[in-house]
Symmetry: C2
Amino acid sequence: MDYKKYFSEDVPSFMRSPVREIFSKVNLEEICSFAGGYPAAVTFPTDVIPGLAGKVLQKYGAKALQYGPTQGVPELRQEIAKRYEVPVSQVQITTSSQQGIDVCSRILLDPGDIVLANNPVYLGALQSFKAYRARILPLTYYYNNADFRKDNPGKVKFIYVIPDFNNPTGETMNLREREALVGIARELDLIIVEDSPYRELRYSGQEITPIRELAPERTLHLGSFSKIFAPGFRLGWIIGPEPLLEQIYVCKQCLDLCPPVFDQYLATEFLCGGALDRNLNKTIEEYRQRRDLMVSLLEKYMPSGVSWTHPQGGLFIWLTLPEHIDTVALYEKSLAAGVAYVAGSFFYVDGSHRNTMRLNFSYIERAKMEKGIKILADILRSDV
Amino acid sequence: MDYKKYFSEDVPSFMRSPVREIFSKVNLEEICSFAGGYPAAVTFPTDVIPGLAGKVLQKYGAKALQYGPTQGVPELRQEIAKRYEVPVSQVQITTSSQQGIDVCSRILLDPGDIVLANNPVYLGALQSFKAYRARILPLTYYYNNADFRKDNPGKVKFIYVIPDFNNPTGETMNLREREALVGIARELDLIIVEDSPYRELRYSGQEITPIRELAPERTLHLGSFSKIFAPGFRLGWIIGPEPLLEQIYVCKQCLDLCPPVFDQYLATEFLCGGALDRNLNKTIEEYRQRRDLMVSLLEKYMPSGVSWTHPQGGLFIWLTLPEHIDTVALYEKSLAAGVAYVAGSFFYVDGSHRNTMRLNFSYIERAKMEKGIKILADILRSDV
C-alpha cells in the first residue's frame, strides 16, 4: 500500500528531533553523553515516591485514578497559583511543557504564519512551529524591517523566548533586554510565549523578573515539572490571560481530555509538603558543581579558538569553535570515541553555524565528565 | 486586549464537550449520574498501586522517572504486542486513546477533508475531527452516492468506527458487517480507524474478530487502559501498519515527547503479573450486574413508547423516546430532580435526534440506580 496519499499537508513539515534519534541509537550508560537535556537521576526523589503514592490514594482515594478536569486537578492548580502568586483561573496544567508549546501553537498558528524567535532556538519548539507550517524569523530582523512588516500584516502571532538559561545557549536575558522585548511586543501588538522550564535552576547571580510579570496581559508562560520533580511524570503548566487559557482548555479537551491525574496528585503532595523545595535545593547544589566542573574542564582541555557561554543556571553550555570546524561532520567520530553532543546547527532554522555545539552538564556524572571533555577536546584539537 | 485576532482559523471549529461542561457544574456524588463514561471507582485496583509503585522503582530505578522513548517504553510495548499477538514494531503507546484519535487526525486530515463515520458518533472523535476542520459524513451516504464521490476525489481519508459496544449506542457490529466495512474500505482504498476502548468489557455473547485482523494493512486500532486499569493514568496504544506509525511517532515528538513513563511502568507491571486480567474479571462481573440491573429497571419504569439497545458490553445504553420528547429541553428539569444524562443529539453531527439519550451504567452504584431511573421515567412520563 502507498500510504503517502493519505497524509495531511502538514506531514512533510514534520521534523525528527536529532536528539531523540541519537538517543534511540546509543546506550547512554555506556558513553559520555553531553547530548539531550536529561536531568540527573540522582536529583529524582525516588525514595519518597512510594510514600507519596500511598498518601495520594489515602487522601484522594479513587479520585486520583479517575478522569479529571481538563484544566488540571484543582489542588495542583492551587499549589501552582500560590507558588507563582497568580489567580487559579490563570493556571492550566499541561501534559508536559512540550504540550504547552504545542497547544499554544495550535490555537494561534495557521500555515504561513510567522513566529519571532531568537536564533538558535529550542528544538522542540522549532519542531512544533514547523509542524504547523509556520515560519520562524529573528525578532531583530522583523523589527528593523518596516517593509517586510507591511507586506506581512497579521502574519506574526507571537514571540517565542526562553529568557532564563536559554536552551541551547544557556544565556539569560537581563532586565533591560526583557523590558525592551516587552516594549516591542506592545508596539507591534504581539503575544509572548515565555518558555520557562529552567527558571528555578539558578546556581549563581540574581533572579530576574519573568516576562509574565512585565506583560501579564500578553504573556503565555510555560512551566515544567520535568526539572524540579521528574520528567517521567510529563507535567507542566501554563500561566496566562484567561481568554487565551479558555481556548487552550477547549483545545486540550480533544488532545487528551485531561493531564495524568495520579501524577498530578503526586506533584501536589510533593509541592505542598515542602518536599519539592528541599529536593530542589539539593538539585541546585548538584548542578552547580557539575556546571563549575564542566567550565573548569573546558578551560583545562579545550584548544585555543574555542569559546563558551557561562550560564548562571539551567542545563547547557554553548560552544563556538573556529569557523572551519564542522560539528555535524565530526559527530560520528566523536560517538565512536564514546562522546555524544548535539551539533549547534540543529537549533538554527537554516541549519547554519556548523561550528557550534550544545553541551549538557546535568546528566553526566562528575566522575565521567573529565574523560568526556578530554576526548572531545582531542577530537577538536585534531581538527583545529 | 482583543485576543480573537491572534487565533488560528481552527479555533472557531473547536467544540466544547457537553459532557465535560455538565461535569464541571455538578458534584457527581450528589446526583444520580448516567452521564459521562466514567468507570466505577470499585473497579480501580487501588490496593495494589502503592505496591506496584514500589516494585516499579525497585525494578526499573531512575529509568521510570526519566524521559522515555517517544514510541513508549519497550517493556510496555512488548506486553501489548504479546497480548494482542502483533509485532512490537506495530505498537505505539499514546498519552490516552483520545490522543490516539487526535494524532491519527493530525497526520491524515486537512481542512475540508471528509471522515466517514456512523451517526451518532463518539463526542471526543467529533471534537477532534471538527478541530481539524474536517466534515463528518455517514459511510452509507458516501458509498451510495457515486456523483458525490466523483466530485470529492481524495477528500475522504478514513472511516472511523467503534465496532465493539459503540459509544454512544452500545451496539456491536457483527462479523458480516465488519467484513462489509472492510470490503468498502478496500474498494474505495480508505484507511479505517478502529476505536476500541471497550472491547475487553464483554458481558455476554461471543467475541467478534476485530477489524485490525480483517484488514491489518489499512487499520489503525486504538486501545485504552482507561477501562481496564484506570483513566487517571492517561494511557492508550495504537496498533497499525509501520509506515503510518512512523508518521505518528514523528508527530508525537512535538506533542509531548513521550507518554508518562512512570505510569507506563505501572501498567507494565499490572499487565505482566496477571493482575490486570484478575482485575478485569472482577470488573466484567460488576458491570454485567449493573447492565442487567439497568435493563430490568428500564423495563420496570419506562413508559411505553420508549425503547433501548441491549449492549453485550461496554458502558452505555441508548434510549429512543417518542418523537415529540426533547431530551435537550428536558435536561435542566432532570438535573434539578437529581439525574444527569447526555442528550443523544450531541452525538449527531447535525444535532438531530433530540428524542434520544445516552445512559451510562458503569459509574453509578447499583443502590442509586433504581432511584435515578425512576426519577427519569417520571420526567419522561410527564412529557409522553
